[in-house]
């Protein structure tokens, strides 16, 4: 009995510890200097000193947020469009377009985007946006095409218009699946955003690249760890929302 109790709150405890550590690290990185010092050579600094970790973390999150919101809007809108009777013929076309977005390496997108929009955050946003479309689009498509026919017909039978059915029935019912796509997309973007620093976007990639350039393992590690911690926490949070919405509808979740 006691063991089961421990098992139940252990994940929550670990999450809390991770949040506290993450906040402590980005606000007061100095506290952790002794831990990272052994990784440096020749008295190099153990803590990133060319900018505030907190600022970089927030900028990193901002970039990911903007790209994900844009990708969500476009992917969900596209999925809605091609699942309406009038849009069915665009389904194959939009599928292949979105797939190209995913197969094109983000580095190549950056290289191509820089001449067009210049250095900075913009090329990174474009790369993340294109890369994030596919999981959201595919999931939205799955969600909207696997709705229980009986329920959608009941909505029609009650006299809902196409728009009312979409907003009141179809989107809420596919919300857990769409959220699953957003979750995948966010996690990919969090990691991919680091390469944005190669074209002067201000993300946590800056810390990693600085570490690589000066052969400072401590920099590489702290940049990587912050990104990883963000990914774990956001993944976890979105999973919880997904489970909550699914459970309310009586769907079983693994």
């Amino acid at each position: 009995m006691k063991e089961a109790g421990v098992k139940a709150w252990l994940p929550s405890l670990l999450r809390l510890v991770l949040v506290v550590l993450l906040i402590a690290f980005v606000t007061n990185p100095g506290w952790f200097e002794p831990l990272l010092k052994p990784l440096t050579e020749n008295n190099a600094p153990a803590i990133y000193n060319q900018g505030s970790l907190l600022t970089l973390t927030l900028l990193h999150l901002r970039t990911v947020l903007i790209a994900t919101v844009a990708a969500t809007i476009v992917a969900v809108a596209l999925a809605i469009l091609v699942t309406r009777p009038a849009g069915v013929e665009f389904l194959p076309l939009s599928r292949s377009l979105v797939n190209i977005g995913q197969t094109f390496p983000p580095v190549a997108v950056l290289a191509l985007a820089v001449p067009a929009v210049g250095f900075g955050e913009k090329p990174t946003l474009i790369a993340l946006f294109l890369y994030g479309l596919l999981p959201i689009f595919e999931n939205a498509l799955t969600g909207l095409t696997t709705l229980p026919a009986n329920v959608v017909e009941a909505a029609r039978g009650a006299g809902m218009t196409g728009w009312q059915r979409l907003v009141k029935i179809e989107l809420p019912l596919s919300a857990p699946i769409i959220l699953g796509g957003i979750r995948l997309s966010v996690v990919i973007s969090l990691a991919t955003a680091t390469i944005g620093s190669t074209v002067a976007a201000r993300t946590l990639g800056e810390v990693i690249i600085a570490g690589l350039l000066s052969n400072n393992l401590a920099f590489v590690l702290q940049g990587g760890l912050i990104v990883a911690a963000l990914a774990v926490l956001i993944y976890d949070g979105l999973s919880a929302i997904e489970r909550y919405t699914a459970r309310r509808m009586g769907q079983e979740t693994a």
């Binding site: 009986n150 017909e153 009941a154 039978g157 006299g159 809902m160 809420p172 509808m249 009586g250």
Partner: protein, 312 residues
């Protein structure tokens, strides 16, 4: 009044509903029976235009059902879909209030109506209103589905096997409630069922469908007495016919003069119940009493058996 005229529905080469014409009088119940796949659901759904017919016309109170946009037509027609089709992400109360919300009723009026219907279907509004459909039993879900169809007090009600998942006791109750509602509001009902007992009990008229065709459309007594084909005969169940015929009649119509011993049977009981009671208790006659308890005479085994015979 619902006039169905030469309605046909084809999917590619297969004809699912084949040139069906029938007339449903206002304030009556028409029951559609037939084997699985005979086109009952498709016929029903052409009335509220969930399915567009290939040819033919359906008129509601004289007006072509295509004279309104589909969604407006459907808000005015109650529809209990086969297998309830409740919205899983909305509470029981929200489910029942669906059409009133679409019609823009005031919140207070919607709540009053929802509570009224839930009470009618023996679902405590306090306890069940805020629940989600998956937290209900199959029979409760089905009752919520019927309540949702009734919510906006429609003049026309389409019901596709609404009582399939109910146990005999609740089903009886649900049937009686529906009959009471139908009497009170003068609703015109078209009900699809697999249960011949239910058809005979509920229907003012019964429509028998076979492979998309309407093979007979008549009063229950006539369907029982003069089945139009061997198919109808099988469907009504040859060995059950006399009992079904008796179940159509009330005791008051079989009363004979004279007295009998024992507990009296009310005059509004069905003749079938009276015969069952006679056979079970081994008596040749039962006294009959009126609603006020006054003795009216008696029913006899001989009398009832004569009534169960094939009408001339």
């Amino acid at each position: 009044m619902i006039e169905i005229e030469g309605i046909t529905k084809r999917y590619d080469a297969t004809t699912v509903v084949d040139d069906v014409s029938m007339l449903i009088e206002p304030r009556t119940i028409a029951v559609i029976v037939g084997t699985s796949g005979s086109g009952k659901t498709t016929l029903l759904r052409m009335i509220n235009r969930l399915v567009e017919p290939t040819s033919g016309v359906i008129r509601l109170d004289g007006a072509d059902n295509r004279s309104l946009p589909g969604y407006q037509l459907r808000r005015s027609i109650g529809y209990a879909i086969q297998g309830h089709g409740l919205f899983p992400h909305r509470t029981v109360a929200q489910n029942i209030g669906t059409v009133p919300v679409l019609l823009g009723w005031e919140a207070a009026r919607i709540k009053r109506r929802v509570d009224e219907l839930m009470t009618l279907y023996q679902l405590d509004p306090q306890a069940f209103g805020p629940r989600y459909p998956h937290e209900l039993s199959g029979g409760q879900q089905q009752r919520v589905g019927v309540a949702r169809a009734l919510a906006a007090e429609p003049n026309v009600l389409l019901m596709d096997e609404p009582f399939g998942a109910l146990d005999p006791i609740i089903r009886n109750k649900a049937q009686e409630d529906l009959l009471a509602i139908q009497k009170r509001f003068g609703t015109t009902i078209i009900l699809v069922t697999h249960d011949m007992e239910e058809a005979v009990h509920m229907g003012d008229k019964i429509a028998v469908m076979d492979a998309g065709k309407l093979v007979q459309y008549a009063k229950p007594a006539e369907i029982l007495a003069k089945p139009a084909s061997a198919f109808v005969e099988t469907l009504v169940g040859a060995s059950e016919k006399p009992f079904r015929l008796l179940s159509l009649g009330r005791v008051r119509d079989a009363v004979e003069t004279g007295a009998a011993e024992g507990e009296a049977i009310p005059d509004d009981a069905s003749q079938r119940d009276a015969l069952a009671e006679l056979l079970w208790s081994g008596r040749p006659a039962l006294p009959v009493k009126g609603a006020d308890g006054r003795p009216l005479g008696r029913v006899t085994v001989d009398g009832l058996v004569k009534r169960a015979a094939r009408p001339a």
